[in-house]
Amino acid sequence: MHPADEVLVARYVEEADQAAFRTLVDRHQERVFGYLRGMVKDRDVANDLFQETFFRVIRALNKERGSYTRQGKFLGWVLRIARNAALDHLRARKKWQDLGNGDDGDESAWWDRLPDDGPSALESVQDMEEADLLKACIDRLPPEQREVVLLRHESDLTFREIADMTDCSINTALGRMRYALINLRRMMEEAKRLEHIPASD
């Protein structure tokens, strides 16, 4: 039986059990890294932010900063730290705009907020594997929709937890997820359609 996160945290903090901390990091590395990678769209930057996140975790657990209150939500706490690190990075590069809580339900203008940095995901579709194509489509989602997809699929948070973390209502989180799925499906269909168009040369 695998010990719970709280047990491992207690072993590391009270007994300096390095193996317990290693287990914690191993257990959650994909959830945290997948989220960061999807947010910043760059593996090297995601590596840096991942390291920074766990450095902050170590400092906090060693009581330099006491934000962890052992409420049984270790992953959520770590993801909150990771999110702050990612948003700091994105804000510094002006690639993140803080939104309201989104309770007005207006998601209709999402095309207007599509990030426009880098080549279109659909341009080089013929050279892509399906998984790469899907990742490229995720990267093209509006940031708030992309974040919900990442937190749900990479980090395995529930919609309630996502709503808490992103400071919005659960209806807004669900709405963003729904639009994200619809848009992903549309982009994938478009990509498949382009895949069958012969190159014009």
Binding site: R22, A46, R59, A131, R152, F159, R185
Partner: protein, 210 residues
């Protein structure tokens, strides 16, 4: 969002478990199409391969947790960009300033050479005396210094200075010079020893012929 669509999504992700509720939702044609569309996209997302950080990152984190590697403090992190900025200043600004200074120097030289006064000084030397151009090989050849003509041999008179009184005065001065050889800094000599001291115009101090 429509409650039916919200519930469809919750069922799709396993956060609502009432099977009877789902069946009733799917009796609606629009909700059934919605469920099918969302399921397809979700299926693709579920099968995405997950990524892991680089092993070296994991090693650093575990070393930091074991206290083997000092964690950078928050103040250290704040200082880092300033160092980067100064390094960037050195790397970018210095070459830029050097280039700008070179351009300014070139502009200044061009401006001075284009001034009327400087241009007119240079042009006659080239245009009117082509024979005076020194061949390049002469630059490496020893040229002995030319003997300087003594000033005494030259006629110090100016062309217009030829009136009779001036000519007379000049002759008198010239007749005094070879014998007197007096100049600034030389030892004083009695007036009697000077040429012409016996003339009427000179007499000893204190003597009175009258």
């Amino acid at each position: 969002m429509h409650n039916g669509k919200k519930d469809i999504l919750l069922h799709l992700y396993g956060e609502a478990t009432d099977a009877e509720e789902l069946r009733s939702l799917l009796r609606d044609e629009e909700l059934r199409r919605e469920h099918a569309a969302l399921s397809e996209a979700k299926f693709r997302l579920d099968h995405l391969k997950r990524e892991r950080p680089d092993p070296v990152i994991m090693d650093r984190i575990l070393a930091a947790a074991a206290g083997e590697q000092g964690l950078p403090s928050s103040t250290d992190r704040k200082d880092r960009p300033a160092v980067a900025r100064s390094a960037r200043m050195r790397k970018v600004m210095l070459p830029a300033l050097t280039i700008a200074a070179a351009i300014l120097f070139g502009v200044a030289v061009g401006w001075f050479s284009s001034q009327p006064g400087t241009a007119q000084v240079d042009e006659p030397a080239v245009a009117t005396a082509p024979d005076d151009i020194v061949p390049p090989e002469s630059l490496y050849r020893f040229v002995p210094p030319q003997p300087v003509t003594p000033a005494s041999t030259q006629d110090p008179r100016l062309a217009w200075d030829d009136s009779a009184p001036l000519m007379d005065m000049h002759r008198r001065i010239e007749s005094m010079r070879p014998e007197g050889m007096l100049d600034w800094g030389e030892q004083a000599v009695p007036l009697e020893s000077l040429p012409g001291s016996g003339s009427r115009s000179l007499q000893l101090t204190g003597s009175n012929k009258n």
